[in-house]
Symmetry: C2
Subunit: 170 residues, 2 copies
């Protein structure tokens, strides 16, 4: 979690270590993610029998009008590597949550489609998951703090996509 950045050693060029305030923010952010993620995963598993990745795939598909999506487009929207998505879809297909179909317009391509059980699952899971997200995160924030998270998040994402242009490619 890289919570401790201040390392006491002697360097040739003294780096710009984090100030106490910066350190506190970084550490709090990292620990928050770790614990929040663990809690949401637990809730999701207990209440709906889904992992977070499961949930994300299902909800991404469920939010599409026809409950279907090209595999690579889905990967891009989710910021997942194609490989990861391919493996995960294989596991979800085993469980009957989604199916893969051939793509009519591109012989290489595949289309993932939500099955009826998959749809029932995400419909049942979503409200419970929102409750968890509220309980452990959103409802603890003031309106101003919510906006700061949105702004900062978008700024950082922009920095990371524009400048570096690194995408998971696998």
């Amino acid at each position: 979690m890289s919570t401790t950045l201040q390392y006491g050693g002697r360097m040739t060029q003294e780096p710009r270590w984090l100030s106490d305030r910066e350190q506190r923010a970084w550490q709090a952010y990292r620990r928050m993610f770790l614990l929040l993620n663990a809690q949401l995963s637990r809730d999701l598993a207990r209440q709906s029998g889904l992992s977070e990745p499961d949930y994300d795939v299902l909800s991404s598909l469920g939010s599409r009008p026809d409950h279907r999506c090209r595999v690579s487009e889905l990967a891009e929207r989710m910021l997942w590597s194609r490989s990861r998505l391919s493996h995960h879809l294989a596991r979800m297909e085993q469980r009957g949550l989604v199916v893969r179909e051939e793509c009519a317009t591109d012989g290489r391509g595949a289309v993932v489609v939500l099955t009826a059980p998959g749809q029932r699952t995400i419909e049942a899971a979503a409200p419970l998951h929102v409750e968890s997200v509220r309980k452990y995160f959103i409802d603890l924030l003031t309106a101003e703090e919510i906006d700061v998270f949105a702004d900062v998040g978008e700024t950082v994402v922009e920095r990371l996509t524009d400048t570096e242009g690194r995408r998971p490619t696998g």
Copy 2:
């Protein structure tokens, strides 16, 4: 990443879906974490040959006066399960970054100690890692935003440790 929470289905009791602002914050936060984490991992691997977990273990040990720590205490401070830490220490011991010693005061216990190569590694890695953290996160935030992250992070962590008291136990 649970970026989409609004699910369009019909529910028996309409849940409190996220508002647009809340949705934006949640999505931005999740995407930020995903991309930021990926970038920091890449930098760390390229510059120092370490994974983030590697870095965290080394820096936790390095920040101790004597470069040593009881295994379970380390796990607790890092918010890792004992099992995860045990596996990871085994791998790091293989690479010569740390060693495990018997504990003098508790026959069951073990103490992890940073080796000389481990110390050199973390001393070299830390300044580079701080630069990445600054470049892609800290230096993009205003002082106010930094404080918001610290406050919110601590609030959420408190909520998750006090109320639920769930800790990784493995």
